[in-house]
Symmetry: C2
Subunit: 155 residues, 2 copies
């Protein structure tokens, strides 16, 4: 931490720009905002919808509740995203044997096409975004974020 920040701390001040929760929030909002805009423009897709598609691309047949578990979204968000994705024909539902409340969710052919277009874009965006980091730095970043996520979850 810069010494000015340490000094401020002794004086009971807080430098927002050195405060980790603030920095994470600004960074995350910048990144997500940019991504949201490009998904919206190209695919008329919100981040929530994209998350549902992403997880279904990898785990076909999850139910909405299972999508909820895997995406840090709540069930209302998932429900809304799913209903929009049905309207736009990107996903379809099939019965769950033995439980008429839930339905398995799958990407449609159209959904797979969109998915196949977005994945490289997303990965490319991530690559550009981290282009300034060496491989070791990137690995270190992942480690640090793991630790922080674990700490945040238990606090």
């Amino acid at each position: 931490m810069p010494s000015e920040a340490l000094k401020a701390r002794r004086e009971g001040l807080l430098f927002l720009e050195h405060f980790l929760p603030y920095r994470l929030s600004v960074l995350s909002n910048t990144v997500s905002g940019r991504i949201a805009k490009s998904y919206e423009e190209r695919f008329q897709l919100t981040i929530a919808e994209w998350r549902v598609m992403a997880v279904l691309g990898r785990f076909p047949g999850l139910t909405a509740a299972e999508v909820t578990e895997r995406t840090a979204m709540d069930k209302v968000q998932v429900s809304r995203a799913v209903s929009r994705l049905k309207e736009t024909q990107r996903i379809e539902q099939r019965a769950v044997e033995g439980d008429r409340r839930a339905r398995h969710l799958f990407l449609t052919d159209q959904g797979h096409e969109v998915y196949a277009e977005i994945v490289p874009l997303a990965l490319d965006y991530e690559r550009q975004f981290t282009a300034g980091l060496k491989a070791a730095e990137r690995a270190q970043l992942d480690r640090l974020l793991d630790k922080l996520a674990a700490a945040a979850a238990t606090l």
Copy 2:
């Protein structure tokens, strides 16, 4: 990156849980949500209001436009936060010489009291949150976030 993620990448899949923008978003939402809850409970203060107070604690007399520059908030958010903070008597306004549109913003005595209570809480939260990191790791984290923020800003 774990090898399963690399393999997925070759296959045109994306592992949301390894995708940096997603991880940042989840982490930031967890952290901010927790902080928001505690500020709300103890001080009936939103994150936006707290940001305004934080920056005024350090830079008394900023105008709303200057607060906007320093907080990654837009002017509507700042305007709303300021009007609530006036209502709750945490800040007050004084004329800007030579410009009748803008007003200087200051914490009131009450505002200073709240500020003096929150700052240690916030710093303590940050300390707990990063307790698992060694000093060198924390420094590295700050460096990495600086790089990412710079990259995100220019993309």
